[in-house]
């Protein structure tokens, strides 16, 4: 079940159009369900969570890069992220 839906949303379109979500919904669902209080998840909520996670990854990566020292060396390193975690309230 989930596999098929994941394919569809992950963008294995015949047209090859722009994908909506890159992350596998089945895996996202597994993580969400590991939370004991959660009974069931609407498909839209699943898609949005996956999309939000993507945005989060992008944001974390760019934020850490910009604020870290890796940008001179053109590499994002662990210390950049550690800095972000320590200094940014959001993260």
């Amino acid at each position: 079940m989930s596999g098929k839906m994941a394919d569809v949303v992950v963008g294995k379109d015949k047209c090859g159009e722009q994908r909506l979500v890159s992350l596998p919904l089945s895996r996202i669902r597994v993580i969400m369900k590991s939370s004991p209080e959660v009974s069931s998840i609407n498909q839209e909520a699943l898609v949005l969570t996956a999309k939000a996670t993507e945005l989060f990854v992008q944001y974390l990566a760019t934020y850490s890069y910009r604020h870290g020292s890796g940008k001179e060396k053109k590499v994002l390193t662990y210390s950049d992220l550690a800095n972000t975690a320590e200094e940014s309230e959001t993260f």
Partner: protein, 147 residues
């Protein structure tokens, strides 16, 4: 918790791609950094889910829905995500609608083929009936205007 952290990870390849697309060209990511981001992403999902679930429970619902997720984002101080998420939701709904119509159309075509002539005949009759109804309505309107 019974599950080990490894099982709750997202695929490395996808995470790496998202990171690379977000960063300027030519920038690389160390293995540790990627791993850290991947784990952070899993934590993000858990936290967002828990937060969204609170909203669902407030609404006395057992199923998490899109609104719960959006509310969770605001709660987690990721308001910046709300607009792009709403757009994504719209796009997703349109896609779903399109698919539903496409599969319904396919079903109609399939029925037409299997029922062949009989179906065509009754369809023509339906069309005629619709036209008659329309004409009647128009006539009624004219009468009212006269009055």
């Amino acid at each position: 918790m019974a599950e080990r952290p490894e099982d709750l990870n997202l695929p490395n390849a996808v995470i790496t791609r998202i990171i690379k697309e977000a960063l300027p060209d030519g920038v690389n990511i160390s293995k540790e950094a990627r791993s850290a981001i991947s784990r952070a992403a899993s934590v993000f999902v858990l936290y967002a889910t828990s937060c969204a679930n609170n909203f669902a429970m407030k609404g006395k619902r057992k199923t998490l829905n899109a609104t719960d997720v959006l509310s969770a984002m605001e709660e987690m101080e990721f308001q910046r995500f709300v607009t792009p998420l709403k757009e994504a939701l719209e796009a997703y709904r349109r896609e779903q609608k399109g698919k539903k119509e496409a599969s319904e159309q396919k079903k109609k075509d399939k029925d037409k083929k299997t029922d062949s002539e009989e179906q065509d005949k009754s369809r023509d009759e339906d069309n005629d009936e619709d036209e008659e109804r329309l004409e009647e309505e128009e006539q009624n309107e004219e009468e009212e205007v006269d009055n």
